[in-house]
């Protein structure tokens, strides 16, 4: 790992230089909240954000994706979706959201490789920005991560007041930095120390903790526990938690056509919707909200770690912040953790 610095005066210039050769996604503020958008100039970027409302997973795994185009009828045809290899950089992604991709990878790059996700992933450089001001719903530290972790990004920027400390984490990151080497200079030990101090400060701001130890084993014994019903009563069954989650990845496939043309599209789906598990026969293996609510927590804290070795939650806090009925994953999982069985 290499540590560099870039001065804040040079910062607009490097961003505008990157834009010339990359499709650059960065946080912008619209309608009073932050979102990742392609920017054409440094001035569009807004780094005063805590985190984007929608997770950047939407950049690599689009909410609506056309898989192929078709023409129906005897002379019908199918035209596969062209895979565009666009050089992309995602700037100022938070460490928690970058970890989201680590969790999506086994799904889309595992036994069956999804060519669209793969192309997006391969062509993207993840440039993280450390979180100096986590909020009341952040809990990445519960998973041994940190708001200034470079573990899941190619390059990590940290605001150390007059400069940014730039940590190069991967080969991909190294290649990227080399292309723009004139903007960077080596970091001094003091500057590295300044980052560590920022990181410590940020960690202190995280007040809530989800007790993950032993939770998987605990859940093995709790499938029929009344706690799921208790939370399901409160749940209204919307898709906010799943759609705003950086790790939820379930999708639906639909043929959408008019008389003379159509497309097969893949859209995000949410396990909170009754239609999600509905069989063609009309049978639904998860008929009640209790089954669906339970499934979401089991998927994140039990099934996924069993299958892919990692809890499918990064502690970004969006599901807590935006749940319309205050279903709080920290509160719930801590109750599970502390449950005497």
């Amino acid at each position: 790992m290499e540590s560099l610095v870039i001065s804040k005066e040079n910062f607009p210039e490097i961003i505008n230089t990157i834009i010339k050769s990359y499709r650059l996604f960065a946080p912008t503020e619209e309608n009073g909240f932050s979102g990742f958008n392609i920017i054409k100039d440094y001035s569009e970027m807004d780094l005063s954000y805590l985190n984007s409302r929608m997770p950047p997973k939407a950049i690599l795994f689009n909410q609506t994706e056309t898989l192929f185009l078709m023409k129906p009828g005897a002379k019908g045809s199918i035209k596969p979706k062209e895979i565009r290899n666009e050089k992309t950089a995602i700037f100022a992604i938070r460490p928690c959201d970058a970890k989201g991709f680590r969790i999506l990878d086994p799904v889309f790059l595992g036994n069956y490789v999804d060519p669209l996700y793969k192309a997006n992933r391969d062509n993207s450089v993840l440039i993280g920005l450390s979180c100096n001001q986590p909020d009341s719903s952040c809990f990445c530290t519960s998973f041994g991560d940190s708001p200034a972790s470079g573990k899941y990004v190619d390059i990590l920027f940290t605001d150390i007041e007059e400069k940014y400390l730039v940590e190069v984490m991967t080969e991909k990151g190294k290649g990227f930095v080399n292309d723009f080497s004139r903007f960077f200079s080596p970091a001094s030990p003091n500057q590295i120390e300044a980052k560590n101090a920022k990181e410590e400060e940020a960690i202190k701001l995280i007040k809530r903790n989800l007790k993950v130890e032993g939770i998987e084993e605990k859940m093995d014994k709790m499938f029929d526990h009344p706690i799921w019903e208790e939370y399901a009563k409160k749940c209204i069954g919307c898709g906010t938690c799943t759609y705003l989650c950086p790790t939820c990845h379930c999708f639906d496939m639909q043929d959408e056509s008019t008389l003379d043309k159509g497309a097969r599209v893949r859209t995000w789906d949410a396990c909170m919707f009754p239609e999600y598990t509905m069989h063609a026969s009309g049978h639904n293996p998860r008929p009640a909200r209790m089954h669906r609510v339970r499934n979401r927590f089991y998927h994140k804290y039990s099934y996924y770690p069993k299958n892919s070795g990692v809890i499918a939650c990064t502690g970004c806090g969006r599901c807590i912040r935006y749940c319309p009925v205050n279903i709080d994953i920290i509160e719930l999982m801590n109750r599970v953790s502390e449950m005497e069985l």
Binding site: C238, D252, Q254, R321, V325, N326
Partner: protein, 327 residues
């Protein structure tokens, strides 16, 4: 301020009734400024009940959300009533649902709370984003008083009051079995002030405005699920045969969804603002609902959710209708 002791007492008495299975009220939330729905089955559960300016969710959603699972052999359906704590708007939702035959009056026992207005959740969380400690808020002399990190804040009520409350005409429950405390004064402010600017804007600008709003809809259906009047057993947005609205999330389908929902609420929306509060993308859905509500009021002299014996607007017909096409 609502007398919390009295609320708990009344709720306990209600729960003790043989014909009541449980009561839905509010309790403290899990962090910061949140409150949560509470489902009380025992007197001990009832002791958690609160009513504060943060009780801004519409609990009228829950009786119809109750799931009736297939009965096991020998099991009998529990037909007892559900107790429900209602503010003015929540009670109007219940009235409207009863009017539409969505439930029967005898299905619910209503504990009415004269509502002095509730806080805009998004606004207070924006102002104090780091508040993880569970915070009590009191309303004292038109100010909200609370403590954040050891510092007492006094914020004028109007700054934090939810938009719908600023123009609420029915803060007192219109239907109840027991009322907690005295009725509150009705706000004299005109109900449709909030949409005046939008109404006066030229057509193209309005269309542009709504395109911008619908563009960011993610179709999570939080608006529908939070709305007490969205209780169709199958929403037309979920139908596959025919598929009225495609699953693709784009401006066209999002517009179809949002306009469809607004139309389905015309003459039914009781202005609680639950949809807008729930929307994770901050789409000003109440502007749409208010506009249609205004049309309904002006054209048909109809206000939803006031009288359980009235006919729902779209289920009524007037032989003397002045419109030519209807004859």
């Amino acid at each position: 301020m609502v007398d919390q002791k009295m609320l708990v007492e009344v709720a306990k008495e209600t729960l003790a009734r043989e014909d009541v299975k449980y009561i839905i009220g509010y309790k403290k939330g899990s962090y910061g400024f949140q409150t949560s729905a509470a489902f009380a089955y025992t007197p001990k559960d009832v002791e958690e009940f609160i009513f504060t300016p943060l009780c801004n969710k519409n609990l009228a959603k829950y009786p119809l959300k109750e799931e009736k699972l297939p009965l096991k052999r020998g099991e009998e359906e529990d037909k007892r009533k559900i107790g429900l704590v209602v503010k003015g708007c929540d009670s109007r939702a219940i009235v409207q649902i009863i009017q539409e035959n969505g439930m029967k009056r005898e299905d619910v026992v209503l504990i009415g709370i004269p509502c002095p207005g509730v806080i805009n959740q998004k606004e207070i969380e924006k102002r104090f984003p780091n508040q993880s400690e569970i915070t009590d808020i009191n309303e004292i002399n038109d100010e909200y008083v609370f403590t954040v990190e050891g510092k007492e804040h006094k914020i004028p009520k109007q700054e934090l009051l939810a938009e719908v409350c600023k123009t609420c005409e029915y803060p007192n429950p219109v239907l109840y079995d027991v009322m907690i405390g005295e009725e509150v004064e009705v706000n004299p402010k005109a109900e449709y002030e909030g949409i005046k600017d939008l109404e006066e804007a030229p057509l193209e600008n309005r269309w542009e405005y709504w395109e911008e709003q619908f563009q960011r809809c993610i179709r999570c259906y939080a608006c529908r699920e939070a709305c007490p009047l969205c209780y169709c057993s199958t929403c037309m947005a979920d139908l596959l045969e025919p598929q009225w609205i495609r699953r693709s999330v784009n401006l066209s389908e999002n517009t179809a969804w949002n306009i469809m929902r607004a139309f389905h609420l015309a003459g039914r929306c009781i202005s609680c603002g639950a949809c807008e509060n729930a929307c994770p993308m901050d789409i000003p859905l109440m502007e749409l609902n208010k506009k249609l509500g205004k049309e309904v009021k002006e054209m048909f002299e109809y206000t939803p959710g006031l009288d359980i014996d009235a006919k729902p607007l779209l289920g009524s017909f007037n032989p003397d209708d002045p419109e030519e096409f209807i004859k």
